[in-house]
């Protein structure tokens, strides 16, 4: 059965670029759940939600009735009670739906609509379809920024070293200058992307990723907390960097790994990549999205309450939710992180310069850990440059070209050797005599 946090499935999806979109979609839906839950927990319905989020005692008789109570959104005000927010109580699922189809409130038609036959047919795979849709919505806007920037950095690396190899002194600055342009753009985009992704996830509309005026306002409501999130990206990039660099170093010294056959090497890499996805990459990816969603939801509440942002700036889904929960007038300050005390002590609170310098330093560290160090230790082609796995698509399995070729050759040889030899045609001996 599809357990909501079935980790093997997450890691398996990351082994393929197509199914990795499902991981993104699931993370987006979980981010949306975080936003929704946070708002409900700040409303008059908090205690009801907390009760439903308690662990369910495992009793066989009462389980079905308790389950239906827990599933039910009926404690929420209209229209949230019958809206299609299945992720509020239960964590998003991967394939089967969180709750089976039921009559729901349609915002566009402003009325309850019955379950159609198409919904019933699609029901067993509803989460799969939603993860796929949210996945594409989650990746596409980020890719419009990071793919060109990654391309610039890739170009700078290749052409810069090409120029160095050919001793093109006359155009020596091309590599470094292009690199710095790419690095600068990456830092600029990346410093906004977590909040932009949260905004997009919460609204369910991919175009809201590009509402950068709003996103910058939300960031500046709680810059220190947001800086903490960005620092976490750097912290979590370190183990990813180690995993990425490992293949370049493990054949050193007395290691016998250089002597593996192609099939053995392929298996080794598969296991390594799966373990990396299982233990590090996907958990980090999902956690960062969840944290960003929490920051987003707090920033929206405070922004609305303090007048720094208007309701009209939000998506219809968010407006409906906030109004139904009665949160427009909530004046809640964002939590102050512990390191903020140090910043205030140093007299640097509210300093845009300090914030920007910190972003730049963290950004440089992240770029080094994500791109340059692993690429030096074990160069990977273009796709790796345009897909930082913690930010965009948690796809982490690719066989190097030479290994793939060697593996194909090996399979071909084995197939040739294992073909049975055809028996020679028997000749009838002429009878003697």
């Amino acid at each position: 059965m599809d357990h909501p946090t079935w980790p093997r499935l997450q890691a398996l999806f990351g082994m393929n670029p197509v199914t990795a979109f499902l991981s993104v979609g699931w993370s987006q839906r979980r981010a949306r759940q975080t936003v929704m839950r946070n708002w409900v927990l700040n409303s008059a319905y908090a205690s009801e939600l907390k009760q439903r989020l308690q662990p369910d005692p495992d009793t066989s008789e009462g389980k079905s009735s308790k389950e239906s109570n827990r599933d039910s959104h009926l404690f929420l005000p209209h229209p949230l009670a019958t809206r299609e927010d299945h992720e509020l109580i239960k964590d998003p699922r991967w394939i089967i739906p969180e709750t089976w189809p039921r009559p729901r409130y349609s915002r566009s038609q402003k009325q309850m609509i019955e379950v159609s036959w198409l919904d019933r047919v699609r029901a067993p795979f509803q989460s799969l379809f939603r993860n796929w849709r949210f996945g594409w919505q989650g990746v596409f806007p980020t890719a419009t920024l990071l793919v060109p920037v990654g391309g610039i950095m890739w170009f700078a690396w290749r052409m810069g070293w090409n120029n160095s190899f050919n001793k093109g002194y006359e155009q020596a600055p091309i590599g470094p200058v292009t690199s710095f342009i790419g690095i600068g753009l990456f830092i600029w985009f990346w410093s906004h992307i977590p909040m932009a992704q949260a905004c997009q996830a919460a609204s369910g509309e991919w175009k809201r990723f590009y509402k950068w005026k709003l996103i910058r306002k939300l960031i500046w409501i709680q810059p220190m907390r947001y800086l903490g999130l960005l620092a976490l990206y750097l912290l979590l990039a370190a183990p990813v960097m180690m995993v990425e660099s490992a293949p370049g170093l493990i054949t050193s010294g007395k290691s016998k790994l250089e002597f593996l056959t192609a099939s053995e090497a392929v298996n080794f890499l598969r296991n390594l990549h799966f373990a990396a996805l299982f233990f590090i990459i996907f958990p980090a990816f999902a956690w960062l999205k969840k944290l960003a969603a929490k920051l987003y939801s707090d920033a929206v509440l405070f922004g609305i309450g303090s007048g720094k942002i208007k309701l009209e700036d939000l998506s219809p889904w968010e407006v409906e939710t906030i109004e139904a929960l009665g949160l427009e007038g909530l004046k809640k300050s964002p939590e102050s992180p512990w390191w903020n005390k140090l910043v205030r002590f140093a007299g640097l609170a509210g300093s845009h310069v300090v914030y920007r310098i910190s972003i730049a330093l963290i950004g440089f560290g992240l770029i080094g850990a994500t791109f340059y160090i692993p690429q030096f230790i074990g160069y990977q082609p273009f796709p790796r440059w345009v897909n930082p796995v913690l930010i965009q698509l948690p796809w982490y399995h690719r066989l190097p070209g030479p290994l793939k070729e060697a593996w194909q050759m090996e399979k071909l040889e084995k197939a040739t050797i294992s073909e049975p030899e055809s028996e020679p045609e028997s000749t009838d001996d002429e009878p003697v005599g």
């Binding site: 070293w161 190899f165 250089e258 070209g401």
Partner: protein, 411 residues
Amino acid sequence: MSDLNDPTPASNYQSKTRRRFMKEMALGAAGVSLSYSTLGQQTNSAPLEEVVPKDYSGPNVVIIRFGGGVRRRETIDPVHTFCPYTLKKLAPRGTLFPQMKIDDFEDINTSHGEGTLNILTGKYDKYQDTEQAFLQERFEAKVPTLFEYLRKNFRIPESQTLIINGEDRTQEEFYSFSNHHLFGVNYQSEVLSLYRFKTFLLREQINSGRWEGEELATKQKQLNELESKDYRSKGLRNQSPEILSFWETWREHYGESGLVNPRGDRLLTELSLWALRRLRPRLMMVNYNDPDYVHWGIKSHYTRAIAIIDEGIERIVNWVDQDEEYRDNTVFVIVPDCGRDSNPFLSTPYQHHFNSPSAHEIFGLWVGPGVRAGDMVDREVDQISVAATVGQLMGIKTEFTEGPVLEQVFA
């Protein structure tokens, strides 16, 4: 033909070399100078004695360091080679050792500086930067180099023992002499490189009074920075008059911009040809290095660089073949400084040379008078045998080398 019945006890010398190496490592950390004789090891020659230099009448030797780090697959494998001239035209004229290797002691590093000094000194050592700086390779050999042996034994001027060095590894300019108390700087070789030309040029320009005031101060600072790279003599030792004249001619021909002369490893070929024509070296080492650019991951840098070295070897050999004095009197020794990895997990399997088994695998090619032609010695031999073998070819005693002479080389 393979020499399968060679009775030379390769395993014996390897064991002795290992034991000595381990002892030296245990004692060497405190900077203890080890006397060769106290270790009681077998020598290649008679005890040390006062040497009166004689006129040299032996063959010229050109050592081609096929660097920086190449695999056998892309060089001497007939199917995958990127140096067809060296393998298919030159190798049949001499003796190929396809199983030459760098021994795999625990503390031995398979890299360029170490490999170069293995070749020149005939001894393995754990080299460390003189100031223990990270990633710096300012090494000092503790035992003499071939240049020192040659110049101590024969009346050969400095300008006829040459290292031709590239611009990417300036520290190797200063491997031209050891800090052994019986040899050292007085027997060093000269060096030809872009770094040396730039230093010469800047000195000349400053001395000619081209600049004044602030500009002069800036240029003087640049000169100081260039000279500071000389970690052995701190720029205090000038090049010989023959070399200065050489640079003057180079400057007349190629100008001062540095943009007209060939670049990269092609520059080393050009410098080698110029040196052969004008300086007439008796012992010359060419430190090719551009294959090492593959550290940054781009495969074509490796394969293209091997092809460029191959072209360079062809040019040098062709020139030697048409020169009356050098023809039939010059031995070529072609040997890599180290191998490269064969990492199945990377898109560029040979990106680095991190001490993997493949990084220890190299080859050796000997071509010239007195060398057996058309032979292939298909057994394991050591990189440190090069120095002793060159010594025997040139008739010099190499008391401090540890690798045995490769007797199969000789006709």
